[in-house]
């Protein structure tokens, strides 16, 4: 085991899969000469050359479509979005192209493509650079959506995503790149569609993914000091959602708070809450509650940004509420 960053874990996954399969290539803005806007692709141009590590013009729709076309005739593209915010320009290619091609061609054209990049707010990047839009992509049949929270999961899931025959939308956490965790020295993968309990507990279930897992673990520490035991459940894959471990946890704790960075309205947390009440209504001792990003475009001012984000203290308050403690 080595203690490495989330960034380096992703870099290892890319490097190993590029070595393993000559049909894999990486394409995006600044992935080559510049070594990646967030240095995830550091060193790859030097090892694999310009044929396989391709710098693009700033043309998200164009190169996302190039990925779909290349996947139709036998390649395995990895398309980097410098951030997921820019993917809004590429949504026609991802949704009308990648997600539907296999279906509307009657099963003739698979799209084994990964679109990856950082999502979520960082620090004072304002409204156009701070979005968590995984719910948008999770809405679409034909896509798989992955959002790892740890270096271990990031590496293992990216390797699975690259080997997957369907289009995978891969959300990295912009503020997670520098976070560290244990990653095995030997080869491994983490399967798509498997939820993991990140912290065992007995009183309340907290469902969180990507960066929000870190927020949940912090809140769980605070609550533990008050004698409240939280179970933190990380779906890791948002579509298809492995909800069985979530339900199992809720049946044990009888209470659930869902934590997500994105907006509340029609958000993924609403879907998960629906699943829980549908399958475990009789086990609930309190309504399922959500803590989400606030329903506004992200403001720039530091104090306002803080107010718009889900924080450990907001989560602590929500947990106490479902425990009927306040």
């Amino acid at each position: 085991m080595a203690l490495i960053t989330y960034r380096d874990a992703l870099n290892q996954a890319l490097r190993e899969e590029l070595r393993r399969d000559p049909t894999v290539f990486l394409m995006g803005e600044e992935v080559g000469v510049y070594q990646g806007a967030y240095k995830v692709s550091k060193g790859l141009l030097q090892e694999f050359g310009e044929r396989r590590i391709i710098d693009t013009p700033i043309t998200e729709e164009g190169f996302a479509g190039v990925g779909v076309g290349a996947a139709m005739v036998g390649l395995r593209p990895i398309i980097e979005m410098m951030t997921w915010n820019f993917s809004l320009l590429a949504m026609d290619q991802i949704i009308n192209g990648a997600a539907k091609m296999f279906y509307m061609s009657g099963g003739q054209f698979k799209i084994p493509m990964v679109v990856r990049g950082p999502g979520g707010a960082a620090h004072q990047l304002a409204a156009q650079h701070s979005q968590s839009i995984e719910s948008w992509y999770a809405h679409v049949p034909g896509l798989k959506v992955v959002a790892p929270s740890t270096p271990y999961d990031a590496k293992g899931l990216l390797k699975s995503a690259i080997r997957d025959d369907d289009p995978v939308i891969f959300f990295e956490g912009e503020t997670l790149y520098g976070s560290k965790g244990e990653v095995p020295d030997e080869e491994y993968t983490v399967p798509i569609g498997v939820t993991e309990v990140k912290r065992a507990g007995t009183d309340v279930t907290i469902v969180a993914w990507s960066k929000m897992v870190i927020v949940a673990l912090k809140a769980a520490d605070t609550l533990a000091a008050d004698g409240i035991s939280c179970e933190v459940v990380d779906p890791r894959t948002l579509r298809p959602l492995d909800d069985a471990p979530i339900l199992e946890s809720v049946r044990k704790t009888n209470r659930c708070v869902i934590l997500e960075e994105g907006w509340p309205y029609a958000g993924l947390g609403a879907q998960i809450a629906y699943q829980i009440q549908q399958a475990a209504f009789g086990d609930l001792d309190a309504p399922v509650t959500r803590v989400t990003g606030v329903d506004v475009p992200m403001p720039y001012a530091k104090n306002l940004e803080h107010l718009a984000m889900p924080t450990p203290s907001r989560l602590v308050a929500a947990v106490r509420e479902v425990m009927y403690l306040d």
């Binding site: 729709e61 164009g62 479509g65 190039v66 061609s105 698979k110």
Partner: protein, 346 residues
Amino acid sequence: MSTATLPEHTSRQLATTPKAQLIDMLYQMLLGRRFEEKTAEMYALQKIGGFCHLYIGQEAVSIGALSTLRPDDYILTGYREHVHALVKGTDPGRVMAELFGRRDGISRGKGGSMHLFDKEHGLLGGHAIVGGHIPLATGVAFATKYQQRDQVTLCFFGEAAVNIGAFHESLNMAALWKLPVVYIVENNRFGMGTAIERASAIYDVAQRACAYDMASETVDGMDVLAMRDTVGRAVDLARRENAPTLIEARCYRFMGHSMSDPVHGHYRTKEEVQEHKEQDPIRSYVGILTGAGIIDQQVIEDLDRKAREVTEQAIQFADASPEPSPDALFEDVYSMPYSPFTRSEQ
């Protein structure tokens, strides 16, 4: 007709194209015409639903262009693509069955008129967002070059698509990366009901290639041999030098934009349509082949009879094909057996 009075490209093509192929191109045009006429009838009988865009009048464009390809070359097109599929080699019965929404349709009844796909014959769709498939074609050309295969990709779209961002993004990448792709603009003058003069700041579509330092040509899209001549050069350039070309084929659609739209009305007059119908690409080509002594009336009648028979058989095949099984609803969403959005619902 003496060959000395013919345009240079006509003489060149008559001299260099095998006679059987010249005749086959006429057959393809007749088949395309008869197939589309019957498609209109089937639409009126409600055997075909949804949006359905006919190719009548534009046959010379795809038939001339595709006559220059190898069987392993790729094409991608928009949603007016029934004839492209037939010419690329897709079985007419499977095309008609797709229009009928039947199990034996080339896309298993899931695509319909606008989404014909045939992997075996290199037909990569059938795409229904104007201009959205231009990046895909660019990606296919990227992939063939990456894999060091010498295949060429043709990408067809209407003149209205040249105003969309995806067109410009694609041409820039294709020129920058030297990709073996030929972009063919089927300029039928109208994006649905908006004339090109009312939608594009530049009338000469081919000029747009200058912005990307890309080769370009403007060609009479009502002349099948002109199409063959021009696209042949572009395909050679793509195959030999990995260089893309933009071709503007000036043509005209004799029918409405789709089956739900009028042939003429607010946006063009009956007289204008009539005037263009007099330049019918099939009649012109028949004149050239007859003048050159390659065919006579008997050959024309035989080819036309065959085209009608094949169309009739296609309808019979489509009629006999069952509807897709209800199980098909959940097939082909993912490459593995259908995985619903949550495990508990499996």
